[in-house]
């Protein structure tokens, strides 16, 4: 089908994540979009595929002292420490507006124990307007919980299975890139009943002020995000797409529609945008029109037809 005969009308941006149908593949990345409400005046939240909110524990968390971020080449480090208002206040204070704005809400849930993860999941399962759960087993900035689940296959399988039993909501474990074989973690999540996996979270990193010899972050280490990590993230999405059947949500350094398309071609069904939305809070409309333009130029009717279509000549050469 040619550019001529294909109008906007014909084009379908919707994608399917387990039982969840998203109107387009664009989601905010957790921790990069507050609780969504912060952006309600500048972005029509209902136009995003999904709003993924900041990581939530059962209780409130103070987070780390500043400085919490530092800029690096084509990227940034963060060690926010999952400051958050806890699941109860979130439901009371934020969900009403998110519902009113007709946002498709995915909650990024955290825990320091399997019980906390399952408890948070159970509580959110009964909340009107919560469309899905992203299971954060990959935050590099907190020792307990987070990474300790995400870096061990057994723990990953355990926590995903437990949360799976606790909730009927679409469940999307979020994987850390700080492992030798990320695809094996995707497989463990799939085996444990996940509806999809999202990757990548940030890369554990460090920056030192050479004048003071002190780490630039109060937490010493932080997570690297932004364009710098994109090629590694694309590789990991590709690897996972060869190992699991469940959908993959691609994350890492997306700044343009071409980047979105690259992740989808590599194997992603949907994507998340984090750091780039700091630089341009109005990025969402630009990404959507850029994707539509790409589809028009290439005669693609359904964006979902892009997923995993990377043209790899035979097997990987060695």
């Amino acid at each position: 089908m040619t550019d001529l005969v294909m109008g906007l009308a014909l084009m379908d941006l919707s994608v399917q994540i387990g039982a969840l149908r998203l109107k387009n593949p664009l989601m905010s990345a957790s921790g990069c979009f507050g609780y969504g409400v912060e952006y309600a005046d500048v972005v029509d939240l209902s136009t995003l595929g999904a709003v993924v909110v900041k990581g939530l524990f059962l209780a409130e968390r103070p987070g780390h002292p500043p400085p919490r971020i530092v800029e690096t080449p084509a990227g940034m480090l963060n060690a926010i420490g999952l400051q958050g208002i806890g699941v109860h206040r979130f439901i009371r204070e934020k969900m009403p507006e998110l519902r009113a704005r007709k946002a498709t809400v995915i909650v990024n849930i955290c825990g320091t124990t399997i019980d906390e993860y399952t408890e948070v999941a159970r509580i959110l399962s009964d909340v009107d307007g919560v469309a899905g759960l992203e299971l954060n087993i990959s935050c590099p900035n907190i020792k307990e919980g987070g990474i300790s689940f995400g870096c061990h296959l057994g723990n990953t399988h355990r926590v995903v299975s437990a949360v799976r039993r606790a909730t009927p909501l679409p469940l999307i474990p979020k994987l850390t890139p700080n492992v030798t074989d990320v695809a094996s973690f995707a497989k463990a999540a799939e085996d444990a009943g996940a509806d999809a996996v999202s990757l990548v979270n940030t890369f554990l990193a460090m920056a030192i002020d050479v004048e003071t010899r002190r780490p630039r972050l109060s937490n010493i280490m932080g997570g690297l995000s932004g364009p710098a990590i994109r090629p590694i993230a694309v590789r990991m999405v590709y690897e996972c797409s060869r190992r699991v059947r469940i959908p993959i949500v691609g994350i890492g350094g997306i700044t343009s529609a071409a980047d979105v398309v690259e992740f989808m071609i590599a194997g992603a069904t949907a994507v998340q945008v984090g750091t780039a939305s700091f630089v341009d809070p109005f990025i969402w409309g630009k990404l959507e029109s850029g994707i539509l333009d790409y589809m028009r130029r290439h005669g693609i009717e359904r964006v979902s037809d892009l997923t995993g279509t990377v043209d790899v000549p035979g097997e990987k050469r060695t």
Binding site: C32, I69, P73, F278, P281
Partner: protein, 274 residues
């Protein structure tokens, strides 16, 4: 509600080897701006530097018939982004997102306004002076710098009837020492009966010192903070300042949405330098 304007640089005036005033054409931002608010400026297209830079609005710019057409910033060159702004040529277009943040509040009726500025901390006081003197509030500016040559743009204030008290660390102009020297003296001299509200912007150590003085003299004080910001919109939680809660404990508040202006009394100054 902030807007993102791909603003044309109208002029770039170098005040010294480090300081400059950059003027942007951005009516949508300039007409909405209130004193103490800031803009997030994208100093380069592409990936380096990646993040926008936060800047207080300095002046509102008007055309010949007084219509607001843009704003300026008072920039100090300290790194890659401020260097790019220092070098920005007229005609270039630079994305500016704003207005953002919580502005200064008006002083109580009948109260004078004393502004305390260190270095580029002068910036938010140009519009504050304009708005306050325009509505009959008596304004005074305490303005400190390392040396006399770094006391820029005083000419923006005196015409408004703002009394300016200078201080320089090397004593080349005004009081010898920090800006808190004249401030302390004048606070001590002033009778408790005549109300004054204090506004401070500048280095973090200065803000703390001014807050101390205000507290000791029982004067209301607001400070404009400058924290590292990832987004300026409340999305990233990078810009926090520790503040007291009603329940008597404390929490990290995002200075881009709950600030950059805070009541000095709300800030937990002991954790300030954390």
């Amino acid at each position: 509600m902030p807007v993102d304007v791909n603003a044309e640089v109208i002029s770039s005036t170098r005040l010294s080897g480090d300081y400059g005033v950059v003027a942007f054409r951005a009516p949508a931002i300039a007409t909405a701006i209130r004193p103490g608010q800031f803009v997030m400026i994208r100093t380069a297209a592409g990936d380096t530097p990646l993040l926008r830079r936060p800047y207080s609005v300095f002046e509102r710019l008007r055309d010949t018939d007084g219509g607001v057409i843009g704003f300026s910033i008072l920039n100090k060159r300290i790194g890659v982004g401020s260097q790019l702004l220092y070098d920005a040529a007229p005609g270039t277009r630079i994305p500016c997102l704003g207005p953002l943040g919580r502005p200064f509040s008006r002083p109580p009726d009948g109260s004078d306004a004393w502004m305390v500025a260190g270095g580029t901390g002068l910036a938010p006081f140009a519009t504050l002076s304009e708005d306050l003197t325009g509505t009959g509030v008596r304004c005074r500016l305490f303005y400190g710098a390392r040396t006399g040559a770094d006391l820029f743009c005083v000419d923006r204030f005196e015409p408004l009837g703002v009394q300016v008290d200078r201080a320089t660390e090397d004593g080349t102009l005004g009081d010898h020492g920090r800006v808190t020297v004249p401030l302390a003296r004048e606070l001590a001299a002033r009778s408790g009966a005549s109300p004054v509200a204090i506004y401070a912007c500048g280095p973090e150590a200065m803000l703390k010192a001014v807050a101390d003085l205000a507290a000791r003299h029982g004067r209301p004080c607001e400070v404009a903070t400058e924290r590292r910001m990832g987004c300026g919109m409340g999305g990233c939680y990078s810009c926090v300042v520790r503040v007291r809660t009603q329940e008597g404990s404390s929490r990290y508040a995002r200075s881009c949405v709950e600030g950059p202006v805070f009541r000095a009394a709300d800030i937990v100054w002991d954790e300030w330098d954390a």
